[in-house]
Symmetry: C2
């Protein structure tokens, strides 16, 4: 029986969305146990699951505007910190939080700890493609600077994930670059290109450009944390900007535009959901000793449920265990 720690106090809809997501997960998956960290009284207001669920009570929590590293050090009884400590101690197998991303990165790095041989864990998320298949991209911003060796490890970790969790055989790995030719980029890209070409354990398909990501040019996309973060935020900003402009165009349009928009309403709504790039719901901090997963701050019960399902698959396929073994070997 796998045990998953859930920080009940992080995110905009805490603890309700977290607890309701847990209720649903306990109902659907009879092979997991969940430990909720947070205010017991508030949690019990929403908790309907009765078996395989327990509460670790604490009144302290990390807020969204807390300075990450300091919060982790000072708020020793915070729900997120207690959960991370229990992961470290082996009392639980994985954790998820909808709280402060920086604090979760710090908790993962300083409390849960890195895989031996992984210098810089990277933030990974499955991002949307037009065909709905998606691709895994990392690092999305856990680091401001990376070396070719870090990027090489991201290629390996992304491949393990795509293969084990998403079931993609021989995932195609692309290096995000400013052109597709092998000679493109700065020294970081050129050296990484070399490392990836020489590693026969991955299926490297060469450089990929940001304009082709949504067309699914690769199953795993490797970037340094600075560029990955800029790309992710550009996707988010562009998607929301377009939806705003569409709204404006309709609002200032004639009756035809307004009627058209009314008839298209359902389709536009589902489009908006597909395009919620900001929902790095289920962003994995990859390179740690156990799965540490961030679900978006605005997650509802359904998103929390999906993230628990994702963590369950990660535990079932032992993707982290395999990474630990492989990456320690390469060191």
């Amino acid at each position: 029986m796998k045990k998953i720690a859930v920080d009940a106090m992080g995110g905009d809809n805490a603890p309700q969305a977290l607890v309701e997501g847990v209720n649903q997960a306990i109902r659907d998956f009879d092979d997991i146990e969940i430990v909720l960290y947070g205010d017991e009284t508030k949690i019990k207001d929403y908790l309907t699951a009765t078996e395989r669920v327990s509460i670790v009570h604490t009144e302290e929590k990390i807020d969204s505007d807390d300075e990450p590293a300091r919060a982790i050090r000072r708020k020793k009884q915070a729900s997120m910190v207690l959960a991370a400590k229990d992961v470290k101690a082996g009392d639980v197998d994985a954790m998820l939080s909808a709280g402060n991303t920086g604090a979760l990165l710090a908790a993962g790095f300083f409390i849960v700890g890195r895989i031996k041989g992984v210098e810089r864990p990277g933030l990974m998320s499955t991002l949307p493609t037009v065909d709905g298949r998606g691709y895994d991209m990392l690092d999305l911003g856990a680091n401001a600077e990376n070396t070719p060796e870090h990027l090489h490890q991201y290629a390996l970790m992304g491949s393990y994930y795509a293969e084990n969790v998403r079931g993609i055989q021989k995932p195609r790995v692309g290096l995000l670059n400013n052109g597709t030719e092998a000679s493109k980029g700065d020294p970081l890209r050129k050296e990484t290109y070399q490392l990836l070409s020489e590693d026969e354990s991955i299926h490297f398909v060469g450089n990929v450009e940001a304009r082709d990501l949504m067309d699914g040019v690769a199953d795993v996309v490797v970037a340094d944390g600075f560029t990955g973060n800029a790309v992710l935020k550009t996707m988010e900003g562009t998607a929301f900007g377009i939806l705003k402009q569409l709204k404006q165009a309709i609002a200032t349009g004639n009756w035809k535009a307004k009627l058209g928009a009314f008839l298209l309403k359902d389709r536009l709504k589902s489009l908006k959901q597909t395009l919620d790039f900001s929902d790095v719901g289920g962003a994995v901090l990859f390179g740690l000793q156990a799965p540490v997963v961030k679900t978006h701050g605005s997650s509802d019960a359904k998103a929390v449920y999906s993230t628990i399902r994702q963590v369950r698959t990660m535990l079932e396929t032992d993707v982290i265990g395999k990474s630990v073994k492989e990456l320690s070997k390469k060191d």
Copy 2:
């Protein structure tokens, strides 16, 4: 009378779109003279303007798949090369091309030449915001690597352009970074932040994030060429990806969706035009001795006309002359 060189042979719609854009510009602006470079017979098929226009005949041209630096060296009689040489010689005041971007960068750099004191010219374009005001961003990919000093110069050049050509008083300059706090980013960002804070000749508003660009957080956005290129291509890819998904959603939708789409057609079309990020039509290679402007490869006559108007404004306001003066002083 200002003289503008137009490479008639570059781009998907050459020479027709180029020559027709010139016809219109000659009609509307009586204070410019245009020199067309390319095949005289083909140009004359479309040329209706009769005054203030001349042709420099050549049969050689640079193709879109030519290797840039080599093409510039070997195709000495190419239309783009001849135009650049005439800019250098002072026979014309500026040039525009819809051809091979890399070759135009190389022609600008090696033939037209840099402003004394500007180490690395940057590619700048005015990108769309939701409110239609736009912002100027550079470097969009002329360089794969930049130093804090380069980024400082981009801030100055972007400010001159926004103020002189776009008429924005005290343009707000933002540094693209992975967070808005002053302490964010890698050493390149931190050192650039310092340089921009200390320069009282610009109106530095601090770090800006890619997700806020379309909301118009700054009038000038400064980035290294690698990140700027990734951001531009992400905008393009995301915009086209969304339009593709919208099309799919409509195609697989019911009669309501299809009727809605039909009624919204004009609005969706105008949205698509606003969002044509790939149309860095009028991307200026800033930091050269004279205006060298790239208009998109797929430009039609209207886009060519707009770019000629933009070059005319650059010459009228002497934005390059001012840059030469100011940047040489700072050196």
